[in-house]
Symmetry: C2
Amino acid sequence: MSRYLIGIDIGGTKLATVVATIDGVILHKIRQPTEAKKGSDYVVSKLIQMVNETREFIQVSCSQIEAIGISCGGPLDPQTGIVYSPPNLPNWDAVPLKQIITQEFNIPVVIENDANASAYAEWQFGGGRGFKNVVFITMSTGIGAGIVSDGRILQGTNGCAGEVGHQILIPDGPLCGCGNRGCLESICSGPSIARRAKEAVKKQTNTKILDLADGKISAIKSEHVVLAAQKDDPLAIDLIQQTAFYMGWGIANLVNIVNPEVVLIGTIAIAAGELLLEPIRQTVQKMAMRRPAEAVQIRPAELGNRIGDLAAISLVRSPMNN
Amino acid sequence: MSRYLIGIDIGGTKLATVVATIDGVILHKIRQPTEAKKGSDYVVSKLIQMVNETREFIQVSCSQIEAIGISCGGPLDPQTGIVYSPPNLPNWDAVPLKQIITQEFNIPVVIENDANASAYAEWQFGGGRGFKNVVFITMSTGIGAGIVSDGRILQGTNGCAGEVGHQILIPDGPLCGCGNRGCLESICSGPSIARRAKEAVKKQTNTKILDLADGKISAIKSEHVVLAAQKDDPLAIDLIQQTAFYMGWGIANLVNIVNPEVVLIGTIAIAAGELLLEPIRQTVQKMAMRRPAEAVQIRPAELGNRIGDLAAISLVRSPMNN
């Protein structure tokens, strides 16, 4: 009788459930809007229904499921399986998700915050394959990271390790969503790049950034900055280079502390490519110590939009072949 | 037949060898000056002789030695056992120390840089007992750290993890020994505190710092600043509070990335006590994210000058009882 894995990916806007082989090959997937505002009870019962639909579609019984992996926005405690109040899941407060799902299916459940699970997926399936020490950095609405150290997720004391985006670079810098000022995220996240672009465009309107935003400063997004830089717009290139400096500074500090072999950067770094990555590398080589700087590669993440499904599955797949 | 452990502590000014029980109780110790300038061959052959003297003194044969632990100034690679060019061991260049000692005694050898080994010792014998995630920060001539994560030393890719002191806080700040500017070490190490004190005393000579340095600005050391602050000298208190702010900032970044349960700080923090520790704690609570900040305690390290011997022994003692 074949054995299978279930993956559950809980995001602020959509939910996904997948069934995979024990090697991690995804066989079927269902997606639904999260409707987070309807509260955790509603979302959790929808998830349970989705899990059953997904496995029934390919005629897999509960007894054939080896384990369920859950990737969810943090903060959450991977030991207790309690999800605290993720910014993208309003009204969730200390939801004992692991316990609920374990009781429902009577199958082992592993839960991790999405940044850690994504790092684990990149290590098993993506740009981290073949390395022992991998950091995956999300660079989109926020800046988060997961750290894989010697093939294990570095969880820390209460599941909070990897908050690379909230290291403070400029104590009197821009206000961050976390309440502090001058965090890496407050300078280099997508919305932060857009904010810096808006300020710059107010002073210098002759830029392709503004054209791409249909002439409306308020409509400028980080994507416009990346596209304009790729079209050689000088202001956009300046903004990307500033971004690379702060990302490189933050990554250099991380490299000194954790000494990874590879740092994989997602979303914006994938879109911007070498335009952003090369100056990040140069800054890391300059600002990190020589030996850890020599040991590290800085690359775009590889899994793209497959990462959510694989993140959940990677938690329960045996990574013995890595 | 009883079994024993050997510990070797290699510092820039002195060498020590100890014999301990397999539980880590130190039975005998020998100390010698390093005489590092005479080169690695000289130092290594002296070490071998010291190991033999130490064990012969308490009549322990080589066959009774279970393992040899070596704590040595980094950079070094704990896997290959090669010691690169430690700043405190001039003329050492890629010395295959683990291989030499293994071949000499035909006993398993474990080698670690002193910061990592000290963290491991604090976890096993000192202020880190009972915790799973421990950071030990040296705060003396330099600022280094060792990270114990889930009971294992976080080594990183080439043994360089834990360089907390070389995270950059102020990119145009003071020049650091590592060649960069504005590293935590360039602001908060003993010599850096002394440098800041000298600059401040030039502008304001009415201070107990100057009295303690016999009236000579050039003779000011960090110890004078600590002592003057303990005698309520306002300038010294300012300098300690500045130091606490930067230490707290650097530790907050570390806490966000590694999420430890306890951060133990040595030497200067032990001498200054709560005068330094309390404002460090306040800064960490302010600058780190709420959940990792709530999880962490900031305390003085506990092993004091026993740390060198226990560092080497902790590497080979089985920490199963921790």
